[in-house]
Symmetry: C2
Subunit: 368 residues, 2 copies
């Protein structure tokens, strides 16, 4: 279409002014006294020629590229990573920034390479993301580099964005208790005894803490805790099948994630139990899966998109260090049965606490 990009010099020439004038005017610098005439001529010329500044050239002087890097261990495996990226993309767009995405597959060598590659391109900041929230190793960086940890923490880089798992854990329990469950609640995927020295992830620890403390607050106990390392559907199936065959008093399942819940559904169905009627299930993540199940799975969602947005916002606003906890939306579908409570006081209390959690955090609107 057109042979070469127009440069600032072209605009200046057409406007009959110096490049200095053109630059100053187009960038709207204050305290620079050019005539209204000059302003008009420069803007007209720029529009006429379709002038767009060469960002690389500009960066040479300003050290700002309007580009940020998103370095993640994994981008495609789960919808979680994509959600983080999507949120980051949205917010970056709003701020006129562009996002350079890198995948490290968790390999430290690859991480070093990724960092160098983006530093070579003078990015304005780096977001380090992980799928399994954890303390992430980050190599030395020039100290001026702005960094935000997304779903991760790092002692040297204090700004991090995490889901509010503690509140999420509480909400899951409240959901069950508010529906009248006070007995026969089992945990699928975790057992403190068995996993004493096992580090899963920083956020899962908080999820469990919230969950247990809420059980304690409400005076409830678990009838079983089934532990497994991987949280895949077949694990959920095996654990649930075994549990249901072993005892008959199970009325509600707290699953550590939706994939486990998916397996649990299958085990229940096979045993003639209808989820949402004969047995309740609540879990975490709000995977795509959760909406496919019948009845729909009630779950505490991971607010990926909001987290991604928030990370970019923090990065570009030079926020001070600290953890930003993003509320987890409670997504109610139909997997929780309403039962007549053994102790209705508990159910009422749970209902109140749940309402507080939701109001306090605006959790429902959080991941639109």
């Amino acid at each position: 279409m057109f042979a070469k990009r127009t440069t600032l010099a072209d605009v200046a020439r057409m406007a009959g002014l110096s490049p200095t004038a053109a630059s100053l005017i187009l960038n709207g610098k204050p305290d620079t006294r050019f005539s209204a005439e000059a302003h008009a001529r420069v803007h007209a010329a720029a529009a006429e020629l379709g002038y767009r500044p060469n960002i690389g050239a500009r960066a040479l002087r300003t050290d700002r590229t309007l580009s940020i890097a998103f370095i993640s261990d994994v981008v495609a495996t789960t919808r979680f990573a994509s959600g983080l990226i999507q949120g980051a993309l949205e917010e970056a767009e709003r701020a006129g920034h562009v996002v350079l995405v890198m995948e490290t597959r968790g390999e430290p060598a690859r991480e070093v390479e990724a960092i160098e590659a983006v530093l070579d391109r003078q990015v304005d900041g780096i977001i380090f993301g992980t799928v399994r929230a954890r303390e992430l190793y980050v190599p030395d960086l020039p100290e001026a580099t702005k960094v935000v940890m997304l779903n991760a923490t790092n002692p040297r880089h204090g700004v991090s964005v995490l889901p509010d798992e503690e509140a999420g854990g509480r909400a899951a329990v409240d959901l069950l208790a508010a529906a009248g469950h006070s007995e026969g609640i089992a945990l699928i995927g975790q057992n403190d005894e068995a996993e004493r020295d096992l580090f899963r992830s920083a956020t899962v620890d908080r999820r469990i803490r919230g969950l247990r403390s809420e059980l304690a607050q409400l005076g409830l106990t678990l009838v079983a805790e089934e532990s497994c390392w991987d949280w895949e559907p077949h694990n959920g199936y095996d654990l649930t099948a075994e549990l249901l065959d072993r005892r008959t008093d199970v009325r509600a399942l707290l699953c550590m994630n939706d994939r486990l819940a998916f397996g649990a559904y299958q085990a229940c169905t096979e045993r003639g139990l209808t989820v949402g009627q004969d047995i309740s299930i609540v879990s975490f993540d709000n995977d795509e899966l959760a909406s496919y199940l019948r009845p729909g799975l009630t779950t505490i969602g991971l607010p990926h998109v909001v987290m991604g947005r928030e990370a970019v916002r923090l990065l570009l606003s030079n926020a001070g260090p600290g953890e930003r906890l993003i509320p987890m939306p409670v997504v109610e579908r139909s997997s929780i049965a309403r039962v007549t409570p053994a102790r209705s006081g508990t159910a009422d209390l749970a209902t109140r606490r749940l309402a507080e959690l939701r109001a306090g955090t605006g959790a429902d609107a959080a991941d639109a």
Copy 2:
């Protein structure tokens, strides 16, 4: 850690040579007669100082940024988009390039903005991707811009990468026929009569063409074709439930995607039919879902990752125009029942044709 990046001038100074010498030597220019001494000193200095060229500055003269853009309608909704991105990232990494990811949400205005944003940053090329393969509108571009269409086509930009849906459609039919099915095969999700004037997507059309032509080749016919616009689990459930209640001779379901198949599983199970025994199901996509189901779903996979890789390879190799068809892997799990064939000749033929498809394309290894 360190105050400022080292520049080429720093390296030159430390080596006691001119920046010219340093540049020429570090870039390994041929026919430039510097002493072995000089080479050694420059390399030593560069290593000592940890010199890395400023890519933006370099681009000013070379017009190459070692960056490419990936502009897609959607990035997070499906694993499909993430797979494309992952493949692109992998191949770009190998080539020392970095990927700038943009999402347009299918809005033309946003697409124009995205293109301008990446052009402002002098990318070496652009990949336009879509989730629903279709002819994609692309605004005018400077004619030197290199473009590859990924899962999309465009009359002005001839290079495109698509899944080989025609072969995929054939394979699905062969799979069923080879297992002995020759009667009672139903199609879930599509009906030519009902959808005569409906454009779904370029690739789905090919999928159906392959499927029908293979049925014809083998002398098979369908007992039913159930149409619906969305291919979500609940559609699969409704269609299958209604079909099974209507007729009792259905033995195999060809589902247009895995989500439909997921719904179909539920309908079958509810009716006491065990998938992989009483009824066979085969579908398309190889969603995460497919491996979660019990029994595992046999499906013709979408080779996202390979497609993403291929797109970058084509972009960077200045390939001539044309469609690159990427083989779809046939992923055999356990949803197809082996039945004694009514006509064993047909089953043998299907087996041979399937083997040819797989051998000819290397489809199995295609999406590792």
